[in-house]
Every structure is written in structure tokens, then in C-alpha cells.
């Protein structure tokens, strides 16, 4: 894993981290390959260990559907938290622009582990709230910036 503790595992003891990562499967995503597609069932959560993941959404550009970058996740960051949030479907597509290693954590195993270790479940839930909250605030600000420009354009 990266030198710094992954954002999802912050404030966990080393034993707790080991307990969670025990369910993980290390996956190497070749450069240019897809990790998941928009609308796929979200069965696993991913921790980026090395490389980079591009999160994209489809956009019509000159009559063609193109995947437009929404966010990039790098080492230590979390991808695919839809695995823990109903309806458990990915709302973005994820691809690796370069060879990337991720640790995949299956939802069902995590839930069972959290049930047996509620303290770990609580800490990870708090960390997940930080990840989700940050994205919400970020996109809220981006949306307002775009709205401001739209209003200025139409009221000029």
C-alpha cells in the first residue's frame, strides 16, 4: 500500500487495517483498460494503490458520445463507493490511463466484517462520509460557477 494511510482507512489501528485488507484482492488494470462501466452493478470498492484512475461521464460531442473526465483518483484514494451506497450501481465509468494497481474490497465481506467489528465499521463509515462529502462540496462549487456564467451570459 502507499506510504500514507489510504483515505478510507484513516484512524484505523494497524490490526484493523490488516483485518479489512484481508478481504482485498489486488488487481492490476492495464493502461487504457476499464475498471468498471457506468451502470454496472457496484459489488466492490476499490482503493488505488498505484497509478491513476479516470472517472468519466458520457457527453455528446459533435454527435458522438465521448467519455469526459469528471475526476481523477490517485494513490491512497477511494474509487467506487457506490458499492456501499444503494442502489449499488456505478454512476461513473472508471478507466486507467496508465497501468494501475487497485485493491478491490467486496461489499458483502465488508458488511459482514463491519457487523462483527462495529468500531471498524464506524471509522470506515466516517471516512467514507468525508470522501462523499468532499465530492458533494466540490461539485456544488463547480455547479455554482457554471450557473453564474450561464446567468451572466443570458442577462448580458
Amino acid at each position: 500500500m502507499a506510504n500514507e494511510q489510504p483515505e478510507l482507512l484513516k484512524n484505523l489501528t494497524p490490526e484493523e487495517v490488516q483485518g479489512v485488507l484481508a478481504f482485498g484482492t489486488r488487481i492490476t488494470v492495464p493502461s487504457g483498460s476499464s475498471l468498471f462501466q457506468l451502470g454496472d452493478p457496484a459489488e466492490r470498492l476499490f482503493l488505488v494503490d498505484r497509478g491513476r484512475i479516470r472517472l468519466t461521464l458520457p457527453m455528446q460531442v459533435r454527435g458522438r458520445q465521448e467519455d469526459v473526465l469528471v475526476e481523477e483518483r490517485t494513490s491512497g484514494q477511494t474509487v467506487g463507493w457506490s458499492a456501499l451506497i444503494p442502489p449499488h450501481k456505478f454512476t461513473l465509468a472508471a478507466t486507467a490511463p496508465l497501468e494501475t494497481e487497485v485493491i478491490a474490497l467486496p461489499r458483502e465481506e465488508l458488511r459482514k466484517y463491519f457487523g462483527a467489528n462495529p468500531t471498524v465499521g464506524y471509522k470506515i463509515t466516517l471516512n467514507l462520509a468525508v470522501v462523499i462529502g468532499h465530492r458533494l462540496q466540490l461539485f456544488q462549487a463547480m455547479w455554482l460557477r457554471e450557473m453564474q456564467r450561464t446567468v451572466e451570459k443570458h442577462s448580458a
Binding site: V61, R62, V68, H134, A141
Partner: protein
């Protein structure tokens, strides 16, 4: 005899006055001292109509063609810049930080 001549002169004078008056009355009004017809001024361009002109839209100047790859790169660059600006706002929220202008081609 003198009376006859006087009556004759008066009659001729009356005929002459009537002829001059008739000529003046029947002369065309447009005739002037110059025999040359005045030069016609060119008609000014017709003023634009006030109604029904909105139906014909002026042709839109075509934008310079940007290759799709370049456009996609511009979109990506725009997203990165917007995210960076939004991150700056989240670090120190203020009205000025929220609406800082980036160097994105889409907003300049």
C-alpha cells in the same frame, strides 16, 4: 369712322390679351428656362423594413473548426481548472474565491 377704328383697336387689344392669358394658362408647369431635363438623383437605398424582417436571420459566422481531439482536450483542461478553482474555494470559502476566473478556453 373714328369710333369704328377705336372699337377695332380695342377688340384687337382684347384678343391679344386673351391670347397671352391662354398661352400662360396652357404652358406646362414643369417647363423651365433650361431646355435640358434636370438630372435625376439616384434613389437612395431602401430603408430597412420595420416589420417582418426578423424572419430572415443573418448568416452566422462559422466558428473556426477545432478538431474533436483538441476540443476534448479543452474540455478536460476546463474540468481540471474548474476543480482546482472549486478546491481553492473549499479551502477558504468566500464569494471572490467561488467566482475566480480560470484560463480555460471555454470561459475566455
Amino acid at each position: 369712322m373714328e369710333m369704328f377704328l377705336m372699337a377695332l383697336c380695342m377688340s384687337m387689344l382684347g384678343v391679344a390679351v386673351a391670347a397671352i392669358a391662354f398661352g400662360a394658362a396652357t404652358r406646362p408647369a414643369s417647363s423651365s428656362s433650361s431646355p435640358v431635363q434636370p438630372e435625376l438623383r439616384p434613389v437612395k437605398a431602401v430603408a430597412p423594413g420595420r416589420f417582418f424582417t426578423g424572419q430572415i436571420m443573418p448568416p452566422v459566422a462559422p466558428r473556426p473548426h477545432v478538431p474533436t481531439e483538441v476540443l476534448l482536450t479543452q474540455i478536460e483542461n476546463h474540468v481540471r481548472l474548474e476543480q482546482a478553482a472549486a478546491e481553492s474555494f473549499l479551502e477558504s470559502p468566500s464569494h471572490a474565491q467561488l467566482h475566480t476566473k480560470t484560463t480555460s478556453a471555454f470561459v475566455n
